[in-house]
């Protein structure tokens, strides 16, 4: 189901209080978005790994803080407004090497970490063991609202583009995009959205040819 179809379905399920029955698309979209976020959190509680089925791939370009600092970040997720979740990866469920780079960097793997871990990692045993500069290096990433910080990113890989699987918010989808809803939860999303919207009556219920103020 596309975003436009889902929105239309919800609107058509609302009570027809009068012939105008106006609900702004943004109001409907944000209501559905709230419900979808809630549903994904319920999936998370059952099994976080299930969320991998509903992500979209986002290409991450990598930048360096200052010059020659060896610290890298990506702000490519800024436009995707991921769904926040209560684990380290939050809405950025996975980061991986895209297929065209597998031959060069295929053994590099990414793991989420907190900002606290990011700060504590220097001079730990793990710091020495992640094999900096070696093909099988393990890279940590910290998810912020608008960017991702990398820990242990090899300099060579920083010049490439990598892929993130992001659980994006409903409002970010284009009208023609297929919306990824948790399996079996379509009806729940539609019903809850309609319930929330049904308590908001249309502004003008009087048939007196006057605008309500």
């Amino acid at each position: 189901m596309t975003k436009a179809e889902l929105r239309s379905l919800v609107k058509n399920l609302l009570r027809k209080i009068d012939k105008t029955n106006k609900y702004h698309n943004n109001v409907v979209d944000h209501t559905i978005s709230r419900v979808v976020t809630q549903v994904f959190n319920e999936v998370f509680v059952k099994n976080p790994a299930d969320l991998n089925n509903y992500t979209v791939d986002v290409t991450l370009t990598i930048s360096e803080y200052g010059t020659d600092t060896g610290r890298y970040y990506s702000d490519s997720i800024a436009n995707y407004r991921y769904i926040p979740l209560p684990d380290k990866a939050s809405g950025v469920r996975n980061i991986f090497i895209p297929p065209d780079l597998v031959s060069s960097y295929g053994d590099i793997k990414f793991y989420p970490m907190t900002r606290t871990e990011f700060d504590l990692m220097n001079h730990t045993g793990a710091d020495t063991a992640i094999e900096r500069g070696v093909a099988s290096v393990r890279v940590g990433y910290v998810v912020h609202t608008d960017k991702i910080d990398f820990w242990g990113m090899p300099d060579a890989l920083a010049a490439e583009e990598i892929t993130a699987q992001v659980l994006q918010q409903f409002t970010v989808y284009a009208d023609t995009d297929e919306v990824k809803l948790p399996y079996g939860m379509d009806e729940v999303v539609v019903r809850r959205s309609a319930e929330i919207l049904s308590v908001i009556p249309p502004v003008d219920l009087k048939d007196n040819n006057k605008e309500a103020r």
Partner: protein, 234 residues
């Protein structure tokens, strides 16, 4: 037809641990840190892995300990196809009080060890040509009669390679797995019963590792036969 490798990357051990236990990737680095602790302990207390670089003593007969040395096994020089081991002698004079980095012979530093040294005990037993004394504070090994010469330093290392890939023997993997489960139960504040159970699992994994390192039947046979002295058969 080849079998799987007998060694495994340390970083891959954690991947396999997460995979086998259906764990999220969140705590990868936490487990890696614990795995490093475990491997260092295994290396030091239960394993048979050691390093034996050939190092050169300085003009005073001192050898700098390698930075990854955690326990010294011994120092030796080759002699007729075998290693000739140095004898630890803590009575050696190893202070360096001369001008600059030199011995002060007036104080008795750097003098050749002679056999007529008087000790508090009656002289007995064999004598060695080479003696050594370990100075842990300055991480140096003093050796006699070997100034500017090469010797083999045999030691146990921390086990973790800092400039490349750390490989571990495959038989250590069950020990690390058990250790990680144990540490996981502590970190997660599991009840004491669970923690003790995990600790026991770890102890048993260590015992299994040690069992693989017991002498073989052939080695035991050699040990026994070495005790016999051949005589004329009458």
């Amino acid at each position: 037809m080849a079998d799987t490798n007998g060694v495994i990357k340390l970083v891959d051990v954690i991947d396999r641990f997460l995979f086998k236990n259906k764990l999220p990737k969140d705590d990868y680095f936490l487990y890696l840190e614990h795995a490093i602790d475990c491997y260092r302990d295994v290396n030091l207390h239960h394993g048979t892995m050691y390093k034996q670089p050939v190092l050169t003593a300085d003009s005073l007969g001192r050898v700098d300990m390698p930075s990854d040395l955690v326990d010294l096994i011994g120092v030796a020089v080759p002699w007729r196809g075998r290693m000739w081991w140095f004898t630890v002698d803590n009575q050696l004079v190893t202070t360096v009080t001369g001008t600059g980095d030199t011995f002060d012979e007036d104080y008795g530093e750097g003098l050749e060890v002679t056999d007529d040294v008087v000790t508090g005990y009656g002289a007995r037993g064999g004598k060695n040509e080479y003696y050594m004394k370990v100075d842990w504070a300055s991480r140096k090994i003093f050796i006699t009669n070997m100034a500017n010469s090469q010797c083999t330093v045999v030691y146990k290392s921390s086990g973790v390679v800092v400039d490349g890939t750390t490989y571990i023997p495959l038989q250590v993997q069950p020990v690390i797995d058990a250790y990680l489960r144990w540490q996981k139960s502590i970190v997660n504040n599991d009840n004491l019963g669970t923690q003790q159970l995990r600790k026991r699992d770890y102890d048993e994994a260590v015992l299994m590792l040690r069992r693989t390192q017991l002498p073989s039947a052939n080695e035991l046979r050699d040990m026994i036969l070495k005790l016999f002295t051949q005589t004329i058969s009458r």
